[in-house]
Amino acid sequence: MTNETSTMTSLNATESPCEAQQKDEIQKNIGETFVEVDHFQLCKSGQHSPGDVFLSEKNPSDGRTISTLSDGLGSGIKADVLATLTATMATKFVANDIPIKRAAEIIMNTLPVCSERGISYATFTTVDIDPNSTVKIIEYDNPPYLLVRQQTALDPIKESTEIVRKDKSTAPRMKAYLHYSKFTGEPGDRLVFFSDGVTQSGMGTALFPFGWTAENAYSFVLDRIKENPCVSARDLAKSVVQEACIHDGYKPKDDISCGVVYFRNPRDTLILTGPPISKESDKELASIFNLFNGKKVICGGTTANIMSRELKKPITVDMKNLDPEVPPFSEMEGADLVSEGIITLGTVADILENNGVYSSDKDNAATRMVEIFRNSDRIYFVVGTKINEAHQDPNMPEGLEIRRNVVKKVASLLEEKFLKETHIQYL
């Protein structure tokens, strides 16, 4: 489905798509780095709530990106609560520059006590990245993170400090240590961190009597990166979790979570939606489409007709993957996706609101658009502002919102939930 040729200036027979993409990106984006943050997780088998929580946010005031992975004691809802509290507090304290030792003590003294086990406990790893690429990492009881630079694992220097609990009766017996490290991220760097669901996967099996272990997990990550030097944070996190799941015989024995931060060349996507307010701007729209370097989406029947006419390219509607709720998508040479407008966008907003989760048997214009967005870093919306009178007819069902409102909603979901960079231009 994805149209690789639209992002490549040249593809000779001996180059892999990744090499060509890298070359193309270097030509386009010398010096530009985007921090891609993504994660993947699977619940312990039989549970509905993950006991691991991954939270990310971009601080609008100082441009810092802060991500926390927390593993709550036990599994299921109780663990989810512990992990959510911990991740939220850790992220907020770091964002507000509360001294980290104090923050950790507050968190540990605040957590509710598990009624079965009589202790309160959750781990956390918090990664704080500022716009100058200074990275600070605070770890408490998760497996140590992996830093990969130029396909090699680096050994960061860490400072350790003990955290002392007020109420010793609800503390785990082992001493609690906080590890702090700092470095300057360089283009191409990757930070991989995960919960013990990854390192302990397969424990007790013949292959991994003591579990997969952090060392094996690190080797796996390095192998994946060697195989595909362009692998996205999203895909890498997913492959680590899925591999751990295989070790557990496809029935996770614990929540399995992995987060990846990748200092990468940004992947750009353009989405044209809506006819421009005046016909004279149709040519400008076509020109924006032609000159853009990246993935291209056309969202809207009228918009598609304009582009088809201006670029002299036919549109064929795909009648094979029919979904009763989302109009069919189409193909046009030069575009990665051509969809209907408002219904599709509304469905995209719903999926993004649901953290990007949708039923795996669905394959329609909205799910495809979500995938394109999730595999992009910067998304440029060009919104035509001509009102579609056909949608204003009172006989039409309610809920066909005004395009620009839905676009704003999609853009803000992409920024807040997925840490993408979005730009909206009106025509």
């Binding site: 064929t316 509607v317 029919l322 009763p324 407008g341 219904i343």
Partner: protein, 88 residues
Amino acid sequence: MRKIQVEICTGTACFVMGASELMLLEEKLPESLQDKVEITGSPCMGNCHSERKSHLPFVKIDGEVIEDANLPDVIERIEKIAEGNKNA
């Protein structure tokens, strides 16, 4: 023999007013007609902006625009054309 061309409009307005059902035409066609018809989708045909706009959804059969299209009517029209073609 030339196939009967059926184009189903898949634009927003047509989709919400019944085109999603029309897209099942291929399954619902009687067996005798199945190899006589070529069904394609079309992006918005623009009929929702014309004087016909209260007669959604729209289907084109051999270039002729059918208003208020529904499966039984469309199949009936196809049958008539097929009869006509047979006798021609």
